[in-house]
């Protein structure tokens, strides 16, 4: 069952076509990798999927509860509340807020109380706030961040900041999770821990995951399918084995073979 379908999505910046008629399809429950050389347009494609950029042409549809929701042209917050959450390559936490507050903000759409209770702090308000806090702490436990809930996000070590980004994205209660280089800058032990967490949350939250990654050991290890992007175009897709032996992929990464003169 398809859950996310991007069809011939294009985006140009001036004369540069960053993403050119890229098509990508995610089946429910899949863990898919998106790889490609630097500047291939991977993050731009993420920004198009999450509404930070609007595509020049092409369609993006999300299938949820048997309904098709067109995502292109929606604002990022609408896309997020439809169930598409993301992390950022260059960590974008709310760094002067605490770990707990970071997660609470992402839970905002679950808030049922209106403005009047928020001025008066009625009992009804307090009960709901407590529920939100409890849910957030539950979520932080998965990442072993619950005992650091009152630390400022900027004071966390780098690896934990990456974990908090994922926790925050999960707090929005997504059906599809987009991870932009979650293992960037991590050592092998940290990457292994991250791999375990990705597998765990996928099970626990019934997620479909699309991840950009340069760490091939991670990609080949956990992804069931891989899309390869080069110059904004999808040049190959398939299982890790197929990608490993694909001639165009090798060319994109290593350059063309020189013909015998």
């Amino acid at each position: 069952m398809t859950i996310l379908n991007a069809n011939k999505v294009t985006k140009s910046f001036g004369g540069l076509t960053a993403v050119a008629k890229a098509s990508l399809k995610l089946e429910k429950g899949e863990l898919v990798g998106l790889i490609g050389p630097n500047g291939a347009g991977k993050t731009t494609l993420f920004n198009l999927l999450t509404g930070i950029y609007t595509p020049d042409s092409g369609t993006i549809s999300l299938y949820k509860d048997g309904q098709e929701i067109m995502l292109q042209g929606l604002r990022p917050n609408k896309i997020c509340s439809n169930g598409l959450a993301r992390t950022f390559q260059n960590i974008r936490l709310f760094k002067d807020l605490t770990v707990l507050e970071n997660v609470l903000i992402a839970m905002h759409k679950n808030v049922k109380y209106g403005f009047v209770p928020s001025f008066l702090h009625l009992p009804y308000y307090k009960k709901q706030e407590q529920e939100l806090i409890n849910d957030s702490i539950e979520l932080l436990k998965i990442f072993n961040l619950d005992d650091k809930k009152d630390e400022l996000a900027k004071n966390l070590p780098y690896g934990e900041q990456r974990h908090l980004e994922i926790a925050r994205a999960l707090a929005t209660n997504p059906v599809v999770l987009l991870l932009d280089e979650p293992a960037a800058g991590m050592n092998p032990a940290e990457t292994a821990e991250l791999t375990r967490i990705i597998k765990e949350i996928r099970q626990k939250f019934d997620l479909t995951i699309l991840l950009i990654e340069h760490d091939m050991s991670l990609v080949m290890n956990i992804c069931e399918r891989i899309y390869v992007l080069d110059y904004g175009m999808v040049i190959a897709s398939g299982t890790p084995e197929e990608i490993r032996s694909n001639k165009r992929v090798i060319e994109a990464y290593l350059g063309e073979e020189v013909n015998n003169a």
Partner: protein, 313 residues
């Protein structure tokens, strides 16, 4: 509960001081200025310090509240007229905030600063040219209803209301915009909506402050609400610390006291005032309180730090 007792005590002590004439009329005017400035600074802090939107038009909203309340109380000079006047003034300011905020807050960046500056100038020029507002001469003999009790009620209501709002999920949504607008949007926060809401609440409170001003000082003219007044309010916010409500309150009190004390040196008053501001900003660039709040725990922490410092020496 502790909060309520502290508030009650503050009210009672000052009320007794006024009744026993220990606070002279002159000092009472300073007290009123402090209260009005607290409302203005805390509400601007919601817009600038917490939501991160730079606004230079707070005096404009204040003037709307002042004129609307003045015009209403001059026609119905009863206590009910006054209460209606305050809320009508605040509501008018809030509507103006909505009209200005909706188009400009859709944009990221400093557009709001320019738009709000323009707006407050337009409002001033309109009041300068309308017949009903008596042009440059301003309105005189506005019935005086405001006393310490009314001031205290409105000041506590706005300060508590805004600090409660900040702690709620809606308030956190506003803070997330200051922290990182793109990330906030990607986490499902409707950034335009919350920027407009913060702006409208801020304008509403500024309208209340203006109404109280008009009713206490019984004389208003357009020049009182110029660009410099907006800057004055911004100075209080920056000095107290962006994103600290108790900072705004402290700074409003401190600046009023400095200003009052310096009345005895009229020739060099503004020079000393400016020097004091520069000195504070050099030694506390993040403002008096930074983004922290003054609370019992905070004072305890300070005490502990001092103790441990002594221990080391």
């Amino acid at each position: 509960m502790k909060k309520l007792i502290a508030l009650g005590l503050t009210y009672a002590v000052i009320q007794i001081l006024i009744m026993t004439n220990l606070i002279s009329d002159y000092l009472q005017a300073t007290l009123v200025t402090i209260c009005i400035n607290i409302i203005l600074a805390v509400s601007l802090n919601l817009i600038t310090g917490f939501t991160g939107q730079f606004s230079l038009g707070h005096a404009g909203f204040m003037s709307i509240g002042a004129y609307v309340c003045a015009l209403i109380t001059m026609r119905t000079s009863t206590i009910y007229g006054f209460i209606i006047g305050v809320f009508a003034g605040a509501l008018a300011a809030a509507i103006m905030g909505f009209l200005v905020g909706l188009p400009t807050l859709r944009l990221r960046g400093d557009y709001l600063a320019i738009a709000s500056l323009g707006m407050s100038e337009i409002i001033r020029i309109i009041f300068l040219n309308l017949e009903i507002t008596n042009g440059a001469a301003g309105l005189n003999n506005i019935p005086q209803f405001v006393n310490w009790t009314w001031l205290f009620i409105f000041m506590t209501a706005t300060v508590l209301g805004i600090s409660n709002f900040i702690k709620s999920s809606h308030g956190r949504a506003c803070i997330s915009i200051r922290e990182d607008e793109i990330a906030a949007e990607a986490m499902g926060i409707d950034t335009i909506k919350y920027k407009v809401i913060a702006f409208v609440i801020g304008a509403f409170c500024a309208g209340i402050a203006g109404a109280l001003y008009a009713s206490y000082f019984y004389f208003i003219k357009p020049d009182l609400f110029g660009f410099l007044k907006s800057v004055d309010i911004l100075v209080i916010v920056v000095l107290g610390g962006m994103g600290s409500i108790s900072g705004s309150i402290l700074a409003a009190i401190l600046l009023a006291l400095i200003s009052t004390y310096l009345q005895s040196f009229p020739e060099i008053r503004m020079v000393l005032y400016a020097a004091a501001l520069i000195a504070i900003m050099i030694f506390r660039p993040q403002g008096l309180m930074g983004s922290r709040e003054l609370s019992l725990e905070f004072i305890g922490e300070l005490g502990n730090r001092l103790k441990s410092r002594k221990g080391r020496v």
